[in-house]
Symmetry: C2
Subunit: 168 residues, 2 copies
DNA sequence: TTGAACTTTCAAAAGTTTTTGAAAATTAAA
DNA sequence: TTTAATTTTCAAAAACTTTTGAAAGTTCAA
């Protein structure tokens, strides 16, 4: 396989991976394009590289910057803005974990904690079933939370061993 | 908060969690409804509980069964089919991890492995950047794979072991 | 067998998300 | 200043996903 074909396939695959996990496909594709670019890319490079509109590039690049995995840089002598991706995949992984936990997991776990305080007669099997489920989810959530925090704080290599301690 | 309100909020929240991670919202809501049900539910119970059509229930319950976290049961003397969810959240977590890894992660990682074999002149910085990225992703993928496998294999007893810590 | 109870299927409709592209806003050079 | 290059915004269009519901299929008691 030659480079252009391999690049295209990587962009396609990275986009699919994102889409399956609730990330905008185009955002993941832009990320892929930047990951394999040896030089910073302009908005126009991304537009032509993926055949998408300027507005689409602008919106998705901004979101990648919000996630902390792409940076805007100014090239001396150039009017345009350029973009570079964080190339260390471990850092990319921890940044994504940190953001998604903060935005999507933490608020939901807060709600679930509230729900275990439901009023009701413990003789009612509906009440008992509900409370049992909430307690189980909370316990699981705490372990997941600990594992994710370990990962987020980790430098490479620490991850596997700390996760093992949490699980065992 | 009283039970009916708490149930509604749990269903809503569980659905949101699913939707954010690429799972059909209604499928997650059906799962929530079954998780807190003290008795098996029929298709009609689910239809009226969530106000959705028969076809929708059929399709999503089938998918929950494919994931191995819901089971069809036959109640003696009843013509209808009933459904129960696996109530142990750790088992639910490992089942979901096992299925998603198999369906969505493994095939993609296989492609990425292929891509690191790209032909090309190592003097070309495009080739070098591409290969570096592929190698980094692969290394990360292997660690993630090992961590996921450890989690998937961590069979039950989590309740027992946490209980032991409380007792001693 | 028959037919009522129940489940499954799937084309069309509804709903949601993503993308476009042109106008408005911003920036910086002349 | 003014002007041209560039970026941002956002309403409308396109694309995609989910849901419906009625017809077809299946099961089983009589």
């Amino acid at each position: 396989m030659k480079l252009p074909e391999a690049k295209a396939q990587f962009i396609q695959t990275w986009g699919l991976l994102g889409a399956q996990w609730g990330v905008n496909r185009t955002m993941a594709q832009i990320h892929a394009l930047l990951l394999i670019a040896p030089e910073p890319l302009s908005a126009e490079d991304i537009m032509s590289g993926l055949d998408i509109s300027r507005g689409n590039v602008n919106m998705n690049v901004r979101e990648l910057m919000n996630w902390g995995i792409v940076e805007k840089i100014l090239v001396p002598g150039e009017r345009k803005e350029f973009f570079v991706a964080e190339k260390d995949i471990w850092k990319v992984g921890t940044a994504i974990a940190r953001e998604r936990k903060k935005r999507e997991l933490d608020p939901i776990l807060k709600v679930l904690l509230q729900l275990s305080k439901v009023e009701g007669d413990p003789k009612d099997k509906n009440v008992r079933a509900f409370r049992d489920t909430m307690q189980n989810i909370q316990k699981f959530a705490h372990q997941t939370d600990a594992a994710l925090n370990a990962f987020i704080k980790s430098e490479e290599n620490w991850f596997y061993s700390t996760l093992m301690k949490v699980i065992r």
